[in-house]
């Protein structure tokens, strides 16, 4: 009978006239393992795996910043951290902006005041989670409140992207910031949004080791 001559992807019918076609009769898949996905290759298909972890973008590991306590923070300043001796031991796809301008305790190329993200590395829709516990030089009775912002100028021109974190010489709150890219180059800062008591100074000596500044990519 004519239907017995039929082949589907080189598969012939059985005696009942049924043709069984598997995925491997349609595309080439080389030894896939459980949990793998089908990923398009240039001419055929291959198996792939999607990692579910977040990518580390930024990590500050500064144990002995050579600061100078005469440089103090005012409201609207950008929190600065030393960078000249590779204190940022993880730095992927983000560049550090030198401390400069009117909103820093001191202008210096050895310290960073902002984290620059560009649309090439972070296209529209990318999501980055920033997290910081600051470690300035503090004085009894003082407090600092910090908040992640987009923008390194006056607070009136910057956009908050997370909670305010209130800290004292005894207790340190955590500031989080969520940046979702709209396809622009941005500078992410840790802004001083409130301060009381004797002015806190830039971190100095081993107090730098309690400072935690990280960023990871969520999407």
């Amino acid at each position: 009978m004519s239907h017995l001559k039929l082949k589907v992807n080189n598969q012939t019918p059985n005696n009942a006239g049924d043709i069984t076609v598997n995925l491997s009769n349609i595309i080439t898949v080389n030894s896939p393992a459980a949990g793998q996905l089908l990923q398009k290759a240039s001419t055929d298909w291959k198996t792939g795996t999607l990692a579910t972890g977040a990518s580390g973008l930024l990590n500050n590991l500064d144990v002995t910043a050579s600061g100078n306590t005469s440089y103090t923070y005012d409201v609207e300043d950008n929190y600065i951290s030393r960078k000249a001796s590779n204190e940022y031991d993880v730095l992927n796809n983000i560049s550090l902006r030198n401390s400069s301008g009117s909103y820093v305790p001191v202008g210096t190329t050895s310290w960073a005041m902002a984290y620059r993200l560009n649309p090439t590395n972070f296209p529209t829709g990318s999501a980055v989670l920033f997290r910081a516990i600051i470690g300035p030089t503090r004085y009894s009775g003082s407090s600092l409140t910090t908040q992640f912002h987009i923008g390194d100028e006056a607070l009136s021109t910057a956009t908050p992207i997370g909670n305010k974190a209130y800290s004292t010489p005894e207790f340190g709150a955590t500031a989080f910031g969520l940046y979702i890219s709209e396809g622009n180059t941005v500078d992410i800062t840790i802004k001083i949004v409130a301060t009381t008591g004797t002015k806190s100074a830039i971190t100095s000596g081993s107090v730098a080791s309690i400072q935690q500044i990280t960023a990871k990519q969520l999407a």
Binding site: S2, H3, K5, L6, K7, V8, N9, N10, I19, V21, N25, I26, I27, L37, L38, Q39, K40, A41, S42, W45, G48, L50, A51, T52, G53, A54, S55, A127, L129, Q147, P160, I161, G162, N163, K164, A165, Y166, E170, F171, G172, A173, T174, F176, L178, I180, V193, Q217, L218, A219
Partner: protein
Amino acid sequence: MSHNKIKVGSSTPDVNGDVTLNLTDLSDVSGTPTTDQYLQYDGSGWTPVAASAGSEVEYIFIGRGESDAYSNSPHGTGSFSGTDDLYVYDTSPTNTITGATITSSSNWVSSITLPAGNYVVSGQTLLEFSSSGYAVFAFYDSSNNRLSQSGVIGTNRTIYLGAGDLAYSIIELASSTTIKLRLQATGGTIDTGTNQGNTPSEHGLIVIEKLS
């Protein structure tokens, strides 16, 4: 001829009766994949999607430092007990966790319902005290079982000296669970809801990252 009446998927036999079937001829595959795309099942069929390693973390972010009086929250104007629920303010919370829902009233988030899975949870608040005092808080389920380690704010912390300000833990949920921030213990006197002003709204935070 009879073979010309046969169609397999969207493919018809050639003059020799052979049918060459491609993936895109299948009824449950839509679209044409390009290099490095994946096939993703969408519940009824397969579609090509772009995805890359590191892009698969689903998360919730609540708390951007916005200002609103705590008396507008479900807590209201009254005093605090030692085990009150805590509320976090956000006019536009971000939620990318499939199946998760955020419950809020007037932009004050009271709870989050998460599907089964493993999560890292981070929570923080700040309260005003009429005198020295402290507040211990953590994540709880809707039956008021504590799910996370605790954060502490305030002064004269007695047994809680040295604690961090962040409630932080990995939680493993075997089934859909509603979680919330809640006071665990207090000392001294927390100001009334009226006297909290904007402090909790500007400092409150919940971040949830799905691990699996």
